[in-house]
């Protein structure tokens, strides 16, 4: 089936089965491989993207349900001032180890700071607890979120 998607501000047409998760449309059909596959069951958060600004697990989101909503991925989130600030903080704090989960972490953090510009520890925990980091960079993730929100590291 043909679907017309709005991804990172661009209109993209794809011809895929309607049950194909958005994750695989992004990765295999459109070549946007920044969004990562970790589990396929919304357990790890590696595939987090924004749909109309809300953090969503792309691995369980069938493409047919996306409709005309605006999708933002890690490749496009830097065009958003909050996203750019989060990416900068990730670099300043030197968050990643292997780095594989960090696209999803950055998408979740950007959604958090957009909705809540000065989150406290509890708000950070709540927003980020669905994003696993196998290297356990959680200490620096938290520091980077605080830095991006102007609350010091």
């Amino acid at each position: 089936m043909a679907f017309t998607l709005t991804i990172n501000g661009e209109t993209r047409s794809v011809e895929v089965e309607g049950d194909t998760p958005l994750l695989w449309v992004l990765r295999d059909t459109l070549g946007l491989v920044g969004t990562k596959f970790g589990c396929g069951a919304a357990q790890c958060g590696a595939c987090t993207v924004h749909i109309d600004g809300a953090p969503v697990r792309a691995c369980i989101t069938p493409v047919r349900r996306v409709g005309d909503k605006k999708v933002v991925t890690i490749e496009g989130v830097g065009k958003d001032p909050v996203g750019a600030k989060v990416q900068d903080a990730w670099k300043t704090i030197d968050v990643p180890q292997c780095g594989y989960c960090q696209a999803g972490q950055i998408m979740s953090a950007t959604a958090l700071l957009t909705a809540n510009p000065k989150p406290d520890d509890a708000a950070i925990d709540e927003a980020m607890n669905g994003n696993l980091c196998r290297c356990a960079t959680y200490i620096r993730i938290k520091a980077a979120i605080k830095a991006a929100s102007g609350q010091g590291a």
């Binding site: 089965e17 295999d28 491989v33 990562k36 780095g99 989960c101 607890n129 696993l132």
Partner: protein, 724 residues
Amino acid sequence: MDGEMLRDPTRRLFLQTGAALGGGLMMSFSLSSVGHAAGEGTLNAYVRIAPDGGVTIVSKVPEVGQGIKTSLPMLIAEELDVEWSAVTVEQAIADTKVFGRQVAGGSMATTLEYDGLRRVGATGRALLIAAAAARWGVPAETCATEPGFVVHGPSKRRLAYGELAQAASALTPPDPKSLTLKDPKAFRIIGQPHRSGDLDAIVTGQPVYGIDVRVPGMLYATFAKAPTFGARVASVDLAPAKAVAGVKSAFVVEGGTALTGLLPGVAVVADSWWAARKGRNALEIQWADHPTKAQSSAGFAARAAELSKAAPHRTLRSDGDVDAAFKGAAKVVSAAYDYPFIAHANLEPQNCTASFKDGKVEIWAPTQNPEPGRKLVAAALGVAETDITIHLVRVGGGFGRRLMNDYMVEAAMISKLAGAPVKLVWTREDDTQHDFYRPGGWHNFTAGLDAKGDLVGWRDHFVTFGEGEQFATAAGMNATQFPCRAVDNYRLDVSVMPLGAPTGFLRAPANNAFGFVIQCFTDELAVASGQDPVAFRRKLLGEPRLLGDPGQGDSFHTGRMRGVLDLVAEKSGWGRKTSKGTGLGVACHYSHLGYVAVVMEVSVSKGALKIHKVWAAADVGSQIVNPSGAEQQVQGSILDAIGATLHQAITFENGAAVQSSFADHPLLRMTEAPPVEVHFKLSDNRPTGLGEPAYPPAPAALCNAIFAATGKRIRSLPIGDQLA
């Protein structure tokens, strides 16, 4: 025992040190095959300098999150004398003829490369000086360098490296061993925090991982293997898979019987991974019976209980007379410990991209250890090793899983049979159920304490997996774990049972379990003798001295351990009063040439555990190469260990792993991650690796803290609901 010792990474890699440093191997002048810009001067296999002064440094070891792609090039850049901002790091291709050992394992890269790669940089610098001296007609001895420039002091002339590199590349390099390296006091790059060159790409989602590889004409593959490890395909209906839109082909891969090689299974190849997965789900596969189908964790536990009570199969070491020591002891303490199998659970599922064409194979592999993969592929596909090209791509978490190359040989074979380049990606379920697991084990301890509370005898009857004198991979034990050689009467006995599941090296292999059992039982002895746990350990360590022979990987310096124990006690405020339900626990362990002590502060309230804070002190020699990466490795190791200790166990039924995802084999989450304060104690020893040694003391520090808080002794992992 010999077989196991040879497989022990610390030991094995130690033996290679001499060859790596002595053979002149580092300075191979084969040209790297990738990425040459016009006019570049190639100084050696690791260093190219462009006319504009841009420096490309090749990193030889796979990057798996340990930060080696930053820290090894830092060693070269320091002695080459360039600005780090001018450096671009390029990942080496797998080629041992040029690069020697290219393994991300055993925490050995820093240990093995610290001297050699500095000499690579120093050799490049010497060539640039020689080129400048020739151009100026002055003796090389009168020239020096400033970052990126050769300078001639007497005439105040200077030439940029970029202007010299081509001329320098034509000169004969000096013997690396003849060069004088920088005094560490003069380091400008080593010892300063540096970020990964991949950082921009990571935070903007650019393709850097194995799973991101795309090559022209590439198809996508899934591969279904038997839940019972190694079972063959009895029958399969491929038609439903082939009927799925996008599926190009589906076929049986015969495979062999070795669990470390290409196993039997069914491949589905499609024009997208989702189609390949749907096709795979549509398969109706009947798996043949397999001799290991009767295996179960319940069966292992029952057999372990029998073996624990029976006379041991053999004694690995016996010093003095433990039985006499126990008879004469004022107090004898016994306790039994066990720990489960666990999986590596890399966040990037196992994957590999391979292209077989005209008898040659090109591979893009997220591997920690490419060369054994090359051998597997050569044998399985019947191609020459020299006809296999392996590109190393950034790895989404190693932890030892990708020392194995099963995914590599699968991808290569599927590409050959499909007649197209393929990217094989495992599902999360495949990844959890076809790991090379950290093996479970059982330890039956007895110790004797004299009237002063001193340890007079220590015995461990270790029940593990293996057959005869052969341990299953990563299931053996080196006989010299502390307090061996510090106590007069010591015995290590072992008994084994057979295992038909794949096991392998997981971060701080074997030590990740020994740290738990030995340091928890040590804590029990402190309590039984009425002594403070830190004071008891200090007494046990005694005077600073080396236990074992100098230069051996299993030699243990009591003074270095005492140093980190004292440091962590000081930083954590050990001995302070804590409120009811709160406690401090300590543990210290030596592995991978590193000495690490850890203290944790925890509270338990109504069965709910909270880890308030962790302090760690590590002695990995005289120099921390990259303080940012070093802190991360210590924090990551400890939090990794906490996650495993709290939650993780792989169990077996019907010869297959029961768990299949993060839901039933959970990773640590942010809410469970305490702050970890990291301290390094610099010592007059060569710098060694940090990817692993902070893991082993952490589980024991946690369980000892739980005891301090609650009086409950955790002797079986995971902790799970034991505090409820």
